[in-house]
């Protein structure tokens, strides 16, 4: 078991990070290399002002018509995204590991709060999953990959929660947690999870088009 633990915590972790970073890096390179072919005008209309206007608008809860139209979804998605990003980065367990490895540390979440945020992420994934089943307009555009993605996202949180609370076999759970976290990281550049990054580009493009060329709002 120790061997497996070492392997997952060592080489596999590195591999996941490398995949994550290089995947994003390659995607970006591809984006910038191909941006001018065959549609030569895409960069031409780029406007920092209108691009940011659009990004900020859409990252503010209830600032757009459609966020207001779906209050429950909006609340869930913003809290979900917030917890999703904040929890792993500021979890004391994670920071301790990094401190041990590189003597780097930062502010950490109180454990109770971290637990709550973890549960929120898991709950949100359940919410999204149910939404995908019960809302006809969502069900229609849903396929198996969407559920797989939800599992990929929820898995590290579920296993982390279980491991931390020492349920089931804690070591096995920790291994499962590390593995699922690594899968999530590695999946980001290669699945629809790359909306994390592409959001800023597609939004900036539409924002620029609407602001600079069409003189209209895009929200």
């Amino acid at each position: 078991m120790n061997v497996i633990y070492q392997f997952v915590a060592g080489p596999l972790a590195w591999a996941a990070f490398i995949l994550f970073l290089s995947g994003i890096f390659l995607r970006m390179i591809q984006l910038f290399v191909k941006v001018n072919q065959p549609e030569k005008f895409l960069l031409h209309y780029f406007s920092l002002r209108y691009g940011l206007r659009s990004i900020i608008r859409w990252l503010t809860p209830f600032a757009t018509t459609n966020w207001r139209k779906h209050p429950v979804f909006t609340v869930v998605t913003f809290i979900f995204h917030g917890c999703l990003l904040i929890t792993p980065v500021f979890l004391s367990g994670h920071v301790v590991l990094i401190d041990e490895a590189w003597s780097l540390s930062w502010w950490t979440l109180p454990d109770g709060l971290a637990d709550l945020m973890t549960l929120i992420v898991i709950g949100s994934c359940v919410f999204f999953g149910i939404r995908r089943i019960v809302r006809p307009e969502v069900r229609f555009v849903t396929d198996a990959s969407d559920f797989i993605l939800l599992v990929i996202v929820a898995a590290p949180f579920i296993t982390g929660f279980l491991a931390y609370n020492q349920w089931f076999g804690a070591t096995w759970m920790t291994i499962a947690h590390m593995l699922s976290g690594q899968i999530l990281l590695a999946a980001i550049p290669f699945t629809r999870l790359n909306h994390i990054i592409l959001f800023f580009f597609s939004r900036a493009y539409m924002g620029s088009e609407f602001g600079k060329v069409r003189h209209a709002r895009d929200w």
């Binding site: 941006v35 005008f41 659009s54 459609n66 229609f140 939004r203 539409m206 069409r214 895009d218």
Partner: protein
């Protein structure tokens, strides 16, 4: 009408398109799909494909979805799923039935109105994806008959309605003569080099609605505008080739339009109350030709009237009395941000303006735009039934007093006409120019 009814059967298109479909082979379909996707799409397409998180948030943007009791087959992402996603997933290995459905969806169930771009958190441009689909259908030669014929007309005559060179000039001169009964020295100067403004229209004006040229002439002459109209190709600013995916013809037609302006050495182009033409001239056509912005400034009629009223070149003798409601055409509101100017014009002209709900950038499309009405009578019923939410919106404005519906766009005009009739809404349809003509101070006769 009988044709309309039996073709409203989902499994059938017009005979010419069916003939096109019957000629397709799996190899041909795959080849065309590969070619268009590989050679003509790029980062934008890929990003939209990869970013769409399948959240369905765009659904409520679409009047087709809303009008079909929230049937997800009509949601923006739902329509992409049934067309582009499937094509990509199956690597172009699709059959004729798939193509038949794609024709119906891409050509008659999406107005390319871009309302959904305001509802998708990622700003995914469904209209663009639909145009990619239409481009593929164009390359497969299965574009619906009526709009294909219109694209042919553009290719031959550079106008939308097979108007011949002599017919155009003759019609303009006829309207000039008619209008001289009202203003004795009125002119519609043809080919006047060095004028300030070239006025361009769409071919349905000389073909069916010559009174609009008449009204424009009265407005121009009263306001003392130094203007001209071209006597040769380029007088028509419309462009259905843009909507059939025949980008080469779109570009050719737009070049003719700009070259007419360039040849006449005008400072700007003023165009009549047409939305899709604005999109073709100032958004899509210019880009295909390599002009980032229109090389000669293009002023849409709304903006032109705004300037005339604001500067006092046109004065209103007596305001239009009946309460009006204002339809914001997609192509000049989401497309050009002219909504506030349109309101200024409406308020200057009319005693009372009742707002539609929703309005401005969020207004519902008329259901005719994006080439949908140009697919012909076979799809008229599905078009009007696909936009009951527009009828509701109109009824609501009517319940708050509106009696007249202003639609400053040709396509909207025709689309709303059909909706007003189909649902018996009971609103009178007008262009801005109808009301300006009716209410403005005109010069005293000699």
């Amino acid at each position: 009408m009988s044709e309309a009814q039996n073709l409203d059967n989902k499994n059938q298109l017009d005979t010419a398109t069916e003939a096109g479909i019957s000629r397709l082979t799996p190899e041909k379909i795959k080849k065309v799909v590969d070619c268009v996707i590989k050679r003509e799409t790029g980062v934008r397409f890929e990003t939209y494909m990869q970013t769409c998180i399948h959240c369905g948030l765009c659904s409520e943007a679409c009047h087709f979805y809303l009008s079909h009791d929230n049937d997800p087959h009509y949601s923006p992402a739902g329509k992409i799923k049934q067309t582009i996603w499937e094509l990509i997933k199956r690597k172009g290995n699709v059959d004729r039935d798939f193509i038949r459905r794609a024709v119906r969806i891409a050509h008659t169930e999406c107005n390319l109105c871009k309302r959904c771009a305001l509802y998708c958190p990622f700003g995914i441009d469904i209209a663009y994806m639909m145009l990619v689909m239409r481009r593929i259908l164009h390359k497969l030669a299965v574009t619906p008959l009526y709009i294909q014929d219109t694209a042919h007309s553009h290719s031959v005559t550079m106008n939308q309605m097979w108007v011949k060179g002599d017919e155009w000039v003759d019609t303009v001169q006829w309207q000039e003569e008619e209008a001289q009964d009202e203003i004795y020295n009125l002119r519609i100067p043809l080919e006047k080099h060095g004028s300030e403004i070239m006025y361009s229209v769409i071919a349905p004006e000389p073909k069916f609605q010559a009174q609009l040229i008449y009204q424009a002439a009265i407005i121009m002459n009263t306001a003392g505008i130094d203007w001209t109209m071209p006597a040769g190709v380029g007088w028509d600013n419309s462009d259905m080739a843009m909507y059939t995916g025949d980008n080469e013809i779109m570009g050719r037609v737009k070049r003719a339009h700009f070259e007419a302006a360039s040849r006449l050495k005008v400072k700007k182009i003023v165009m009549g109350e047409c939305g899709h033409a604005y999109r073709s001239v100032a958004d899509m056509g210019n880009r295909w030709l390599g002009w980032s912005m229109p090389p000669v400034p293009v002023v849409h009629a709304i903006e032109f009237y705004y300037d005339l009223l604001k500067s006092g070149k046109i004065k209103i003798a007596k305001k239009y009395e009946k309460p009006v409601t204002l339809h914001d055409p997609c192509n000049v509101v989401r497309g050009a941000g002219l909504h506030e100017k349109a309101r200024y014009v409406a308020n200057q002209l009319c005693d009372k303006v009742v707002e539609m709900i929703p309005n401005r950038e969020h207004n519902y499309c008329c259901g005719a735009g994006g080439g949908v009405i140009n697919c012909g009578p076979a799809f008229k019923l599905s078009r009007t039934e696909g936009n009951s939410v527009k009828a509701e919106q109109l009824f609501n404005a009517k319940s708050r007093g509106a009696m007249t519906l202003i639609a400053p766009c040709h396509n909207c005009h025709s689309g709303l006409h059909d909706i007003v009739h189909h649902y018996e809404v009971g609103l009178e349809l007008k262009f801005f120019s109808d009301i300006i003509y009716e209410c403005m101070e005109k010069p005293e006769d000699k």
